[in-house]
């Protein structure tokens, strides 16, 4: 092996890390690639953990994004079950637990996030989070013995788990502090839809719920008392109240961080030759005045592709508007764009029939869409945002036309 070969070290071995490795090799990167990951597995996909895997419809072996053979064939070194404890930017080396060091020419943080915990629940034996394969396995093996699960936090992961647990006959309470579900990520119409959907499936949704006290019996939580005076029994608590970026290593190494490791449009951090990609990165996004940290598979893929190209001195990839999906019961929600600055919303489709979309506008500028069982609107809007077409609120409100018609019209207007 040539000694002057460039050495690239990736901290983390999740979705973003494997995508970066694959993308570099596909583009004929000839340096050395070393992925160091804390988890004892090949890179795997997390989305099924709270969906098909928990339900027992997808076995463990099908979670892995690439087989071992891929790592061998593409000469990607994976050091798994090893945690990077220190990054030394002066000497360009990382050190793992046990003391082994690896030197690098280029370094990538693909460290993801970790679930936030409720301090009072720390260490209790029947409290769980849902981030890793081990978390999902731990929950899955217990399901048979559970009668009643309390999910703290009405976000995507908690609601997906709620849907699966209901299907398995477990009683589920979802406690959400905000006045609606998924408040941070979707609009009110969709929150209402999901509330109805879960209630129709027997989930007890408690909005504006503040926990007064967790009732303990030894090291386990037996009940939850809310501020309205009600108390409910529980066999297990699943905490889904959001995540924290794994950025401490970077911060200690003198790399700028905020709510995430701060990067530029090439995914490069404040230190040249060091990148951050995926859930842990605070990145600039088209049309946004402030940098944002996104938590999704498409974001991890997009950032990995962007970093790969920068490492190889290639042009940035075409703009990919942020998107996401979630499956709950037989409902698929797909969202594209960023809705947070919207001033107006328009609904298309049939809410009662569970097939509709909510379009978000800021004055006359189209920002985003949330589509419930309506892939046509999602795909139309994904293309509209990608191509920079001007979708008007007037067009959206004309339900005599399909979103396909509207998209085609916009496309011909452009040329």
């Amino acid at each position: 092996m040539a000694t002057n070969m460039e050495k690239l070290v990736i901290i983390g071995s999740g979705q973003a890390a494997i995508q970066l490795s694959a993308s570099l090799r596909q583009k004929k990167y000839d340096g050395r690639i070393t992925m160091i990951g804390e988890e004892p597995y090949l890179a795997y996909q997390r989305p099924p953990l709270s969906k098909a895997f928990l339900k027992g419809e997808l076995e463990e072996g099908r979670l892995f994004l690439k087989p071992q053979k891929f790592y061998d064939d593409k000469d990607i070194e994976l050091i798994s079950g090893a945690r990077v404890e220190k990054v030394d930017t002066a000497n360009k080396a990382v050190t793992i637990g046990g003391g082994t060091s690896y030197s690098y020419d280029k370094l990538v943080f693909a460290t993801g996030t970790r679930p936030r915990m409720i301090p009072e629940l720390e260490g209790a034996e029947n409290v769980q989070v849902m981030r890793t394969l081990d978390d999902a396995k731990a929950l899955k093996t217990q399901v048979d013995k559970l009668n009643h699960v309390t999910i703290v936090g009405g976000g995507y992961i908690g609601l997906e788990a709620a849907a699966v647990l209901r299907k398995m006959g477990v009683a589920v309470d979802v406690l959400e502090r905000m006045p609606r579900l998924l408040a941070r990520v979707i609009g009110e119409e969709i929150s209402d839809y999901f509330k109805n959907l879960h209630e129709a499936n027997g989930v007890n949704i408690r909005l504006g719920a503040e926990v007064q006290a967790y009732q303990k019996d030894g090291n386990s939580i037996k009940g939850v008392e809310l501020n309205d005076g009600t108390t409910s029994k529980t066999d297990l608590i699943l905490v889904g109240i959001g995540v924290l970026p794994n950025q401490e290593l970077a911060a200690e190494a003198g790399i700028e961080v905020g709510n995430g490791i701060i990067v530029d449009e090439n995914c490069e951090t404040s230190v040249s030759g060091i990148y951050a990609i995926g859930d842990n990165a605070l990145r600039p996004l088209e049309g946004q005045s402030e940098k944002l940290r996104l938590e999704s598979v498409p974001n991890a893929i997009d950032m990995a592709e962007t970093a790969a190209r920068h490492i190889l001195g290639l042009e940035r990839p075409a703009y990919d508007p942020p998107w996401f999906w979630s499956d709950q019961y037989d409902t698929k929600i797909q969202t594209v764009g960023l809705f947070s600055e919207h001033t107006e919303t328009f609904v298309r489709g049939d809410v009662a029939a569970g097939k509709f979309s909510v379009f978000y506008f800021k004055s006359e500028t189209f920002l985003a869409v949330d589509s419930v069982n309506d892939p046509q609107s999602f795909m139309a809007c994904k293309n509209i945002l990608k191509m920079g077409l001007r979708l008007t609120s007037e067009a959206v409100q004309d339900q005599s036309k399909t979103m396909m018609d509207i998209f085609k019209e916009l496309k011909t207007q452009k040329v």
């Binding site: 596909q26 498409p298 999906w325 698929k332 892939p375 046509q376």
Partner: protein
């Protein structure tokens, strides 16, 4: 077991023994076919696992769902024999299947 032939853009053919029960997309990914992206991992949410199925074999692959059709109809490279490979389940009936790469997955 079913033998599936994957044909890349430059006409390169790879014959793979596919395991029953997995999807054609999974068969591809597990065997180093790099023109199938499968960004969403088979959730029928991304349309980056697009393939062309030989016309005379379309029937054997089953009917695409409404969801799949909607995902495909915006694809610039859609043809009458387009399918999302994550939605095709491998069965013995698919022995001899040939799937071809579209010009691009994006």
């Amino acid at each position: 077991m079913a033998k599936i032939t994957f044909v890349s853009n430059d006409g390169e053919e790879q014959v793979i023994e596919a395991a029953e029960g997995e999807s054609v997309m999974e068969t591809a990914l597990n065997n180093g076919i790099d023109w199938i992206m499968a960004d969403c991992g088979g959730a029928c949410a991304c349309a980056t696992c697009h393939v062309y199925v030989d016309e005379d074999q379309l029937e054997a692959t089953g009917e695409p769902s409404e969801m799949e059709n909607s995902m495909l109809e915006f694809n610039d490279h859609q043809q009458s024999n387009s399918r999302l490979s994550c939605q095709i389940k491998v069965t013995e009936d698919l022995d001899g299947l040939r799937v071809t790469a579209p010009e691009s997955q994006y």
